[in-house]
């Protein structure tokens, strides 16, 4: 194994520790990841842009700081990459859309700033579905992203570039965003850990808005400890986001270390059995889910049945609310203040032509749907009613958490599929969000972790999801770490990384 292979095999946590102790230089770690980007990008198209020069400057600064005996941040020298939805000062940010092509933000978002303050090295920006709208990272005018586990397959979405890059070792950890499952579903399809925090746990300042009452940023990593490390850096109140929570940030790594001991006695896991009878739940996904439950039970967890009476209404509720919010949030893209402009004789024609040329078909579909549900004639029957059903869904979770500490389910009802296979059936794609969107509607934290692979060829990853009560991230991380300690799925390496597992 070469030195660079050794670097790429390490978790973000191990890299940070190796750099802190002087066993590794941050420049070598960065160089190894830049070479991996070169090796894997022709097949994957995970990156929208690579900031090599900036990354090497940041890495050299970390090495100089260490040599000078300075205190290093928790992510010092760790190469990270951000979904292209995060605003990065001086680095082009497209949000996967032609309407923002060429936009170079004049300010830094909170996520990029907190990562930089923690010493992280920014490798670049990652591909995604346009404005976060999609489940396959195909809804974009740019190249679709390919799954490192099977390059003809989708990596999931909308944070599919992040998932592909982390799985391919072309960054040590990545940041995604999750409005209805966009961190957890691609994590599931790429054998990763994906953590959607409690709504408000992480700031939304500098995260381009899709549906503001649902959007949340979080880490995507190969190991549970890396997600805890990143969340500790990102979490906390932010004066620039009035919805960020002013709650103490606990020691997430301590929760992981406790879980890694593999003792879950006293933890109760709820299972909504009726959801497992759903049409379209893949038999292998169901089998891996039952196997994961057995792993948790073997570690001492108690598994109980719970009910979520309005579960089957979550997808419809979500697609009313997210499209309503999207139609409002995306009104700002009109060709006047930034991004694409199609010059026309009148202002109205300029708006209409710019938005026609700048938005892709899925974004247009959602803007039109959102406009419909917010019309005066439709508002009460659609938006108002969906907000009432959202209350019922949140109440269902609150009632369930009186009987259990967290709820387990598959993350995605299906493993990855071939690129292009589902692009013409938007409703079928929306229905694949069935297990993930409840956590967004109720503002709850949720994590997806590796749970095995299909037995058919190509061998495709399958994920397990855990949803907890508000601010229960430590409990989720503890149980996720116990599952990781009892399994070896996270150690496998996909074919498209230039090395065998």
């Amino acid at each position: 194994m070469s030195d660079f292979d050794d670097i790429l095999a390490r978790s973000a946590r191990a890299l940070a520790s190796g750099i802190r102790r002087g066993e590794l230089s941050a420049v070598d770690v960065t160089q190894a990841h830049l070479e991996q980007i070169q090796a894997t990008e022709p097949a994957l198209h995970a990156y929208r842009c690579v900031t090599s020069e900036l990354a090497l400057e940041q890495a050299a600064a970390v090495d100089r700081a260490r040599a000078a005996g300075a205190q290093l941040g928790p992510l010092a020298g760790v190469p990270v990459a951000l979904k292209d939805i995060f605003v990065t000062e001086g680095v082009a940010t497209t949000c996967g859309s032609a309407i923002l092509s060429g936009w170079v933000p004049p300010y830094q978002g909170t996520h990029a700033q907190r990562l930089a303050d923690a010493g992280a090295v920014l490798l670049g920006k990652l591909a995604m579905d346009e404005f976060g709208m999609g489940s396959a990272s195909e809804n974009t005018p740019f190249e679709p992203v390919h799954n490192p586990w099977a390059v003809g397959h989708v990596p999931g979405g909308s944070s599919g570039g992040t998932a592909a890059a982390v799985a391919a070792r072309s960054c040590a950890l990545g940041l995604g965003t999750d409005t209805g499952g966009s961190i957890r579903q691609p994590a599931s399809l790429c054998n990763l850990v994906g953590l959607k925090p409690t709504y408000g746990r992480v700031s939304r300042h500098g995260m381009i808005a899709f549906a503001s009452s649902l959007d949340q940023a979080g880490p995507m990593t190969r190991e549970v400890g890396d997600a805890a490390l990143a969340l500790g850096v990102l979490a906390g109140v932010d004066p620039s986001d009035a919805t960020s929570l002013d709650a103490p940030v606990p020691d997430y790594l301590a929760a992981v270390d406790a879980g890694a001991l593999g003792q879950l006695a006293g933890t109760t896991i709820g299972v909504h059995r009726r959801a497992l009878e759903l049409d379209g739940l893949d038999a292998e996904v169901r089998a891996r889910f039952e196997a994961s439950l057995a792993v948790l039970a073997d570690a001492g967890a108690r598994v109980v049945d719970i009910e979520l009476p309005h579960f089957e209404h979550a997808v419809a509720t979500y697609y009313v609310l997210c499209t309503a919010e999207a139609s409002s949030n995306l009104a700002r893209y009109d060709g006047v203040r930034y991004g694409l402009r199609r010059a026309r004789p009148s202002l109205r024609e300029t708006y209409e032509a710019t938005r026609h040329d700048g938005f892709g078909v899925e974004v247009k579909r959602r803007i039109l749907l959102g406009t419909f549900v917010l019309r005066a004639e439709s508002y009460a029957d659609y938006y108002g009613r969906a907000m009432q059903v959202r209350s019922l869904i949140a109440q269902d979770y609150a009632a369930a958490f009186t009987r259990c500490d967290m709820i387990a389910s598959p993350t995605s009802p299906v493993p990855s599929w071939r690129i292009g296979a589902k692009v013409d059936d938007p409703l079928a794609l929306y229905l694949l969000d069935v297990f993930t969107i409840g956590a967004n509607l109720a503002g709850l934290p949720a994590i997806s972790i590796p749970a095995g692979f299909t037995t058919s060829s190509p061998r495709l990853p399958i994920g397990l999801q855990l949803i907890g009560p508000h601010l229960a991230e430590p409990a989720l991380l503890r149980v996720a770490a116990a599952h990781e300690a009892a399994t070896a799925w996270h150690l496998e390496r996909p074919p498209a990384t230039g090395a065998a597992s």
């Binding site: 247009k364 579909r365 419909f372 059903v389």
Partner: protein, 96 residues
């Protein structure tokens, strides 16, 4: 949306400031009808006396302290504007 798909889609596109040629309107109209058919299932949920969802418990005051703070530099903000005239955002004529 039934029999007047194109009328409704055209109206939605007008409200959304979105140019929508007939061919695109036709495809999107059919897809919206399918999606709305699914969404209409929400009408069967009993929501009697159920309040609309509110996240207010989580939301702090949106008001900042009334102290002077730096703002984005005008020239940096204008650097991303597609058309600028005399350090102002330029738009086509919108009033006779």
């Amino acid at each position: 949306m039934a029999n007047d798909d194109s009328t409704l889609v055209d109206e939605l596109a007008r409200l959304a400031h979105l140019e929508l040629p007939a061919a695109e309107a036709h495809v999107l109209g059919a897809q919206l009808e399918t999606i709305l058919g699914y969404i209409r299932r929400l009408q069967s949920v009993d929501v009697t006396d159920v309040p609309e969802y509110l996240t207010a418990v989580q939301v702090r005051s949106g008001l900042r302290d009334d102290v002077e703070a730096s703002t984005l530099d005008v020239d940096r903000a204008l650097a991303a504007v597609p058309a600028v005239h005399d350090r102002l955002v330029a738009v086509p004529k919108f009033k006779d």
